[in-house]
Symmetry: C2
Subunit: 409 residues, 2 copies
């Protein structure tokens, strides 16, 4: 077990009960010994669901299933295993998913399409199709409304700490809760970050509205982080609303009464995304990259990702080197419009380059001090328009090589 | 000085004289102490030239100059310095180039547009504009026709060995020579690889024909290698033909009498490209990736590059782990069409996955042995069409982090 990331928050938050949500975790023995590797989330009847799935063209069998089940918009159970991604496992993989959702549908007296599954871990090794259904039988009577920390721990793979966030929001006169858990520390890149994320609320929100809210939140959070530019076959974020809070009816994502809920959901997604970056494999620095002056917001995002994914930028950060020349290089390779002779770059709030060249005599001392810290801020203005974006990443260190050079052994 | 790459060839080749080409190297004191950092290549009147330049949108001042000079198609001198890229240096950078080409034009009694310049090294630091012109005055009388090894050494930055290749070709009854030197070991990615490459022949070929031949060769060689996905601001490959060999006139790239010359040029470019990969920063494995069954050759190339640039694939190779699941992941993230359920993967000639799943009972022993070697072969068939590509890369190791975490210090 690698040591806890130096960028981890001090502790797992106190997560409140969400009416209609019960969680349970167990050791099913899928791959790891002596640790939990299976999560069951039971959801009361009436729960609506929305989801965002990997755009990988070699998606896993569980992702294929979620894509089929999501349009129905109802969820009664979520089953997540760690240790094996059930990806690139052909018909055996589909059979495992099929047996799992059928068994859960029997246990919870619902349709198979109300059961969602995720798997994370090694690609290409079949899972014994009987293991998960058997574990479900044991878990069914053992779920609790307060088992958030256990749930977050059960879905970890190379994560060094469990990740959770909670917020409250007002919908009209009522206070609702939003709890989220997430896993992910490698193979993190937009569309989607390699992540499994599960967010729950007691608000009563129709599935189509939930979907709009989740897609919007994801675009500015989970899809703006990157660890190593790789994209998982298994990325899944689900948002479930049990509807057990009593509040005025909302039927459109633009309803002004949803404004505070959107704020809370965005905050949960952003904080979860940041925790994923803070657990980036081998990470020692949390890096924020602000891009302004691009031709469009999308162009700004691509430039930000080109910087964030550049191995040369990431190793310079690891080496605490304010090597802004590599930022220039990354802007240049992004393929997006930039005016070299109007480009400016700030590091830790100090402008080091302006109008396409170094700022003569800039004060190097605060910049060097900033680079030695664990929170690094870059701001780049590419001088062609009004598009902007904010991207988060981490540095590339020996730790990343250690973890990924021996993942299967 | 880092130790010579374990993948380096045994020695620098014996490179023959090419009539009309003279080379000289000196220590101009641009950045490095006690090593040569400036190359001058003198070319006899009548030499034609073609070039391929970085597509970076933050290209260096020397690249901007080459883009202006190339359409004229004539070359009398090439001046290359290492230690400083003269990139992102604003008007000071342009002034340095201007003074350099004007001084060379005086020395060689030619137009400034017949003088080509390249710079490689740190980005963002101005070069003293007088240093290179002063060194040219010293070099002018000191060039030799046989100084290929010194020339290859003078243009090195983090390279651990000088790189050169020579071939001969028949044009009609005549034998012509093709010599190439190259530098590059980091910031290597297609469009272009970060490289400076200079190829010389005594053949008599018009500039427009040279350009067609060089572009074609580059597409299948320099643009099919990658070390770390980063793209330089300074990439330049020039091909010069002195025209001093006596052979039948050729006036079109499709002339059948150029067939053997094309073969020789392609071989020089391919071998130079391979040497760059073999000197990839921290590389311990030379990796060949063959992609078949793609929707088009371009799609195959993108899939191959997605595999070659994946940090997870590259660290698995460094760890000698036949982790083909990560190859599946990389195919999925490429964005190109692939049929997950027809995908097959071979490692070292052994098929490990077929029809979207592991080959049950494949012989792991030869695969494990192959991964322990220094020459790694992957073959992937994505099962949708007839497009194919061949890509070369290296592994991602602690050495890369060491080199790039402290480049400027």
């Amino acid at each position: 077990m690698p040591p806890r990331s130096p960028l981890a928050p001090a502790e797992f938050p106190q997560m409140p009960v969400i009416s209609g949500v019960r969680l349970g975790a167990t050791s099913a023995g899928i791959k790891y010994k002596d640790r939990t590797d299976l999560l069951l989330v039971e959801l009361d009847p009436g729960t609506t669901v929305a989801g965002v799935l990997t755009r990988s063209l070699t998606a896993s069998a569980p992702v294929d299933w979620c894509r089929i089940a999501l349009p129905r918009g109802r969820a009664r159970a979520i089953i997540v295993n760690s240790g094996n991604a059930n990806a690139f496992t052909g018909q055996a993989g589909e059979a495992t998913v099929d047996r799992t959702v059928r068994r859960a549908a029997e246990l919870f007296e619902c349709l198979p399409e109300e059961v969602f599954v995720s798997s994370t871990g090694v690609i290409g090794e079949p899972i014994d199709p009987g293991i998960i259904p058997a574990a479900l039988d044991r878990l069914k009577g053992a779920t609790r409304p307060d088992a958030w920390a256990e749930a977050a721990a059960a879905i970890m793979t190379t994560d060094t700490f469990p990740k959770g966030v909670t917020r409250t929001a007002q919908i009209g006169e009522a206070t609702v809760r939003v709890n989220g858990i997430v896993k992910g520390s490698g193979m993190i890149a937009p569309d989607m970050a390699t992540m499994l994320g599960y967010i729950f609320t007691d608000a009563a929100i129709p599935a189509n509205v939930l979907q709009t809210l989740l897609t919007s939140a994801t675009d500015r959070t989970f899809n703006c982080i990157t660890v190593d530019s790789d994209t998982s076959t298994s990325d899944t974020v689900l948002l479930c609303a049990t509807g057990q809070a009593t509040h005025r009816t909302v039927s459109a994502s633009t309803d002004p009464h949803l404004q505070d809920f959107r704020r809370a959901l965005d905050e949960v997604c952003l904080e979860l995304a940041h925790q994923v970056v803070r657990d980036g494999e081998g990470a020692t620095k949390f890096v924020s990259i602000r891009v302004d002056g691009a031709a469009s917001d999308l162009a700004a995002r691509r430039i930000g990702l080109a910087i964030a994914n550049s191995p040369l930028v990431k190793t310079a950060i690891a080496g605490e080197d304010a090597n802004w020349g590599r930022i220039v290089m990354a802007v240049g390779k992004s393929g997006e419009k930039a005016d070299r002779d109007r480009l400016s770059i700030s590091i830790g709030g100090v402008q080091v380059a302006k109008d396409g060249k170094v700022v003569e005599g800039y004060d190097e001392e605060p910049v060097a001090r900033h680079m030695k810290g664990s929170e690094i801020d870059f701001a780049v203005d590419v001088g062609v328009g009004r598009g902007s974006a904010q991207i988060w990443t981490c540095d590339l260190t020996h730790g990343y090589i250690d973890i990924n050079g021996s993942y299967r052994s």
